[in-house]
């Protein structure tokens, strides 16, 4: 019995790292541009469909598809911020929200029209491989996905920590006026940030494709999941997003093992309510 729970928890933690990468994209965008990307999950299912098309056309492994899909999503994100959202940065919060809700509605139903309501997936030849460590049995796909998510997250951390562009973006987030005063091209940096966020979710989408099927209707659930993870971890905290992704992954898996897999998001929402009540700034967030 204990073995079962242990396996569920570890498997959940591995999936959770991929969730963390998805939420990282949202956190980066919110932390810098101060716009909540309400089309996050819908953009991710879009990226997942992109990887499926690549797999069908060129037999590409989703792991390899990460590169082209993330590049396309980066460009789309850059364009979306520069062309559409930028005009809304100074508008009231609810107007920004409605703009992205509109984009989300168009995306999710556009996918429904283009790909139909049925679940699609990609078969990789190592899908059923697994490793055994004592009582612990780990699926190869889960390990690969979690490892890749960690590597990409580490690259992102390094980019923000050490690169000049990363520092410039952090400067915009810290002090909008100051960044303008010292001559940073804020418009470009905002668009860049949105592009990076979109590339993150594209990578997360490709990795998730190793683990789950995709349907258009999952878009809103992923958006919600990303929000919950970011709020639980603390808005703007990158480590927090990764940690809380892990936590949510474990809680989903435990809900599946203890009760019923379809009740998993109830656990996640319960986690959200608890955090909002007792630690509104999130696990690793700074006090407002």
């Amino acid at each position: 019995m204990f073995d079962l729970y242990l396996n569920a928890a570890v498997g959940g933690a591995l999936t959770g790292l991929v969730y963390g990468l998805m939420a990282l994209g949202l956190s980066v965008i919110f932390g810098v541009v101060r716009v909540v990307n309400f089309a996050h999950g819908e953009m991710m299912t879009g990226a997942m469909y992109g990887a499926i098309l690549l797999a069908q056309a060129f037999k590409l492994d989703p792991l390899i598809s990460i590169v082209p899909v993330a590049l396309v999503m980066f460009l789309l994100g850059y364009w979306l911020q520069r062309g559409v959202i930028n005009a809304f940065v100074t508008r009231p919060e609810h107007t920004q929200f409605m703009l992205l809700v509109a984009i989300a509605i168009i995306l999710v139903n556009g996918q429904l029209i283009a790909f139909g309501p049925n679940a699609r997936n990609v078969q990789v030849d190592y899908a059923l491989d697994s490793y055994q460590f004592g009582p612990l049995i780990l699926d190869k796909v889960r390990l690969v996905a979690a490892g890749a998510a960690l590597v990409i997250s580490a690259a992102l951390f390094a980019f923000f920590r050490f690169s000049l562009t990363g520092k410039a973006i952090r400067a915009c987030a810290d002090n909008f006026l100051g960044a303008q005063v010292v001559g940073l091209n804020v418009r470009h940096l905002y668009a860049l940030t949105f592009g990076i966020g979109a590339a993150c979710l594209a990578a997360a989408g490709c990795l998730l494709l190793l683990l789950v099927d995709v349907t258009p209707s999952q878009g809103p659930s992923y958006t919600l999941l990303a929000f919950v993870i970011v709020i639980v971890g603390g808005m703007g905290s990158l480590t927090g997003a990764l940690l809380s992704g892990l936590l949510v992954g474990v809680s989903e898996a435990m809900a599946g093992a203890l009760f019923d897999p379809s009740a998993k998001s109830m656990f996640t929402f319960a986690l959200l309510v608890l955090v909002l009540l007792f630690r509104p700034q999130g696990l690793l967030g700074r006090k407002p």
């Binding site: 809700v101 989300a104 999710v108 919600l224 379809s262 998001s265 109830m266 959200l272 909002l276 509104p280």
Partner: protein, 332 residues
Amino acid sequence: MSGLFAGLPRRALVAMGVFLLLLLLAPWLVNAYVLSILVVVLYYAYAGQAWNIMMGFAGQLSLGHSLYVGLGAYAAAAVFVKFGVNPWLGLVVAVVVTTAMGAIVGFLAFRFGIGGVYFAILTIAFSEFTRIGFDHWLWLGGSGGLFLPVANLSSNDLVNLRGAPVMFYYVILAMTVAALAFCRWLLASKLGYYWQAIRENEDAAAALGIHVFRYKMIAVMLSSAMTAFAGVFFAFYYNNLFPEQIFSMGRSIEIIIGPIIGGLGTLFGPIVGAFVLNPLADGLAELLQWVGIDVPGVKQVFYGFCLLLVVVFLPGGIWPMLARRLGLERGH
């Protein structure tokens, strides 16, 4: 009552009167199909008006109003199906349940200073949480749905809310008109001014001595109580309830698109929005079907583009612009 119309130009009164008369005579003027669309239009006008109290008047963005529709619908339907309780008494149960829910959501959010986007996400989380709960609540049918005994369409029984579409049409028309008058009264009351002060600047409102927490609570409870009516109507009009549908985020968004397109915070915005949006979407669906394209999702894409266009080009909504053009504004 005369205060309701104070300051309106004569042509606005005439336009309102003619519009209301046309709606009252509609069952004789249009066929059953158009009437069924009108019922949907009025349903969204009513639900939008209820939502508008929270967002348009008090500035609290709720993206989870399907929670209150669903709870109201399930409460009244459950006591009707399980215990044979009359729907109007069921309505009381529904209002109590949804108001309590609204109070819980409001208390958790406002007590701990959760606002803006966080509040919106909390409302979604609550409706999703409830949806999953109802999916697993087998006493009420679970995800298989709850069904009401189908009405005998030839006789109208207003007491038990069983009857022909025409009866439901008049019920929802009466509800919409009553909601409009009620909101008109609210907006001009002290409460309405407090809400608008909170909406514009919460800190300034608090500094003026407005008990912000109390009035935000009143907004969320009133809005959820009013939305319960919409839920009860939905249950008895459609006779079937599925958690997957009634609590879905898509339903919440359909409720709020009308007021936003019509004009957030205005009295006629929700009505204009519903009247513009639903017939357009249904017309589009008809047209596509006629051309031979029958794919799900087209209507929603259309909604998305409408919302996008209004948000980008007409941030105030259709009604304020329309009222100015037609000279229907309240006198200065």
